[in-house]
Symmetry: C2
Subunit: 268 residues, 2 copies
DNA sequence: TTGCTCCTCACGTCACGTGAGGTGGC
DNA sequence: TTGCTCCTCACGTCACGTGAGGTGGC
């Protein structure tokens, strides 16, 4: 039999880990000196410890490992648990891959320009909302909301900031479809207004734009450059959320949103 | 200004997260009602929150994010911190990739045979040791340690279990070089014995073999099959650690070790 | 007696999640 | 008065790491 230190060295774990597994009943030592409390581990116990370590490294929680090594689970149950581990491992891998891509993009940027960029792009989910909408056709982007939004505001009391969706076909000959939307209470059907559901975005690249909308093009380009650098793909129309458009133009705060394809940046 | 709930919804974080960032001083609300304690967030604060979230998602600790968003760090320092994030993200990605490979190997095995395998292979580091050695040539593996180890044991008191290293050239015509090693105190130079350093193994695939060494071949094959299934590569000679060889042959406990190449299973 | 190994508490980690219990404005 | 949003504690998470303070055998 081995002392705690010797057994830990052989197995490649810490003494504290052995103590912990003893505490939670995963692996009790073969012998315990009743007077001194000294633990003694039998050589054959390395097999059980190894099984525990393998399952731990597969991503199982210690609480789940107990029943498995004690053969309390059937092969079928174990298969199910392994499938869960599989999807978990897969999604963790994807997560780490996109994280790495973003760190690398950021690092490249700072090595070239030697300073932090002054905007930040966050990928998040945008919930669906019930909105009152008004759709108009515009010849170009600068003819934005000067007319459309105020008309909406006068008619109803919104439950959130106004949103503009631009359905730009990319074809310069065709006009841009501008949908001005104002979140409303689903129950309240305002008279004569088009109340519908604005679909959410499962993944959207978003950033904050400061000041007048006249300079928004630069930030749209920033969004596209970012997508390029991190391996993301934009798919769909942009939206603008008017977080603060009460004061003068240069104090406006807008959130720009671009829908992204669901797949993470890098697949194996 | 937005209430806590509205701001959290817009930013895509939980109310608790906003409370937490307020607590640790990362992001105080623009206004706090001194009577009710109600927080109020300005639209422009979304920019700071976004910057925090981006850095968090790059892998920074919240404690490091404070100085960065407050511009307390120079571009050079930030570059250094990003390089740290980079190696960290890289190694985490590698870790997840090998984890996924092992889960998949295990899942395939259980789907085919519908039961758990009864051996477990642990990858670990093996430390270098000072050992007393005796090298002999053997014609084949079955002529193992019947003679060599007892001679060593009689001469010195070991500080750990005996080890055998097999330097098999793979060429059947040439004999296998068997190195029988017994860990000893580095200070004690036993008279007439060859005391030297047994190099450690940075990464070794190890498993426990039960019973007589006559059946060890099957477990060596298991090790090789495992390496194949998980994308690992064996490189070097095998070792056997005699954890328990006191009783009858079928109670022996041996650890088998195969050195692995340093690279993780899957590279991008 | 000096080292060496071992022991048992018990707090700390990290970024929040999750109730419990209560208050303010419409 | 009823909902709704908001508030402040304060414990829990997960697998150990890390001392503190002390004992047993050579």
């Amino acid at each position: 039999v081995f002392g705690t230190g010797a057994f830990a060295r052989i197995a490649g774990v810490s003494v504290r880990t052995l103590h912990h597994y003893d505490e939670i009943g995963l692996l009790h030592p073969a012998t315990v000196d009743s007077r001194t409390g000294y633990r003694g581990y039998a050589a054959a116990q390395l097999a059980r410890l190894n099984r525990i370590l393998v399952l731990r490294d597969l991503g199982f929680a210690l609480a789940d490992i107990g029943p498995i090594v004690d053969e309390q689970v059937t092969a079928g149950e174990l298969r199910g648990m392994l499938r869960l581990r599989h999807v978990d491992a897969q999604s963790r891998l994807d997560e780490e891959a996109t994280r790495l891509a973003r760190v690398e993009a950021r690092l490249e940027q700072i090595e070239q320009e030697d300073e932090m960029i002054d905007y930040d792009i966050v990928v998040k989910q945008v919930e669906a909302q019930t909105v009152a909408v008004r759709t108009e056709l515009a010849e170009a982007f600068d003819e934005r909301l000067g007319e459309i939004l105020p008309r909406l505001y006068r008619a109803i009391t919104p439950t959130g900031p106004a949103i503009a969706c631009y359905e730009d076909s990319g074809d310069e000959a065709r006009p841009i479809r501008v949908v001005a939307a104002l979140p409303v209470d689903p129950a309240s059907s305002a008279d004569g207004l088009d109340v519908r559901d604005l679909p959410g975005l499962a993944r959207a690249a978003t950033m904050v734009h400061h000041g007048s909308m006249a300079t928004v093009d630069r930030d749209y380009r920033n969004l596209m450059r970012w997508a390029d650098a991190t391996g993301e793909r934009i798919e769909g129309y942009s939206r603008e959320v008017y977080l603060d458009c009460d004061g003068p133009l240069d104090t406006w705060v807008t959130e720009l949103q671009y829908p992204l394809v669901e797949e993470p940046a890098l697949r194996r």
